[in-house]
């Protein structure tokens, strides 16, 4: 069975600085997707970024980028130029490419952003 581990329950960053959230996963599959979701206090879960395992290039979405290390089964999220609106719970998630769209989530990292 696949598992996702987020070892940082809480992180904090100063506004305009950079922060990296860690995620590791375990799977025997070679074809899968990885995601970072953001959950602000309003509770609406929002997709931040997505990475296909077959792609070597790291995904980037504006200030958000990932460091995908397939051999190490590591998938960290880097937030550059942090903003107050980035404060939220961040969840790393895994989805197999070979069955239905079930997402397997990590336990989440709460990010605080200080002015």
């Amino acid at each position: 069975a696949q598992t996702v581990t987020q070892s940082q329950p809480e992180m904090s960053v100063q506004e305009a600085e950079t922060v990296t959230l860690s995620c590791t996963y375990d799977t025997s599959e070679s074809d899968y997707y990885l995601f970072w979701y953001k959950q602000p206090p309003s509770r609406q879960m929002i997709l931040v970024i997505r990475q296909e395992a077959y792609k070597q290039q790291n995904a980037t979405e504006n200030r958000f980028s990932v460091n995908f290390q397939k051999a190490a089964k590591s998938f960290s999220l880097k937030i550059s130029d942090s903003q107050l609106g980035d404060a939220a719970m961040y969840f790393c998630a895994y989805r197999s490419a070979h069955n239905t769209d079930k997402l397997i989530f990590g336990t989440g990292t709460r990010l605080q952003v200080f002015p």
């Binding site: 509770r43 969840f91 769209d101 989530f105 336990t107």
Partner: protein, 112 residues
Amino acid sequence: DVKVTQSSRYLVKRTGEKVFLECVQDMDHENMFWYRQDPGLGLRLIYFSYDVKMKEKGDIPEGYSVSREKKERFSLILESASTNQTSMYLCASSLGSGNTIYFGEGSWLTVV
């Protein structure tokens, strides 16, 4: 924009009550999901459905059932609510395999 609507945001129910949590999506998505979110445990899949009247158990189905009579609506049912089912419940949907999964705002359920 895709909309996944959970009609009840906050509920308080008594132990032993039958509870219905409703979820509606407006984009003709095939797949729908119910997750439970607890601090320190992340999100855990309760049930999912890939078509009308089709359902599959997720990781924690005990104490829950689901109903999908229409494509746009996926209901989570607690036949006899217990205090350990106090939690936040999230509904989600997707068009199909490989597509983005969209979430509702969540339903806070307290069982007393």
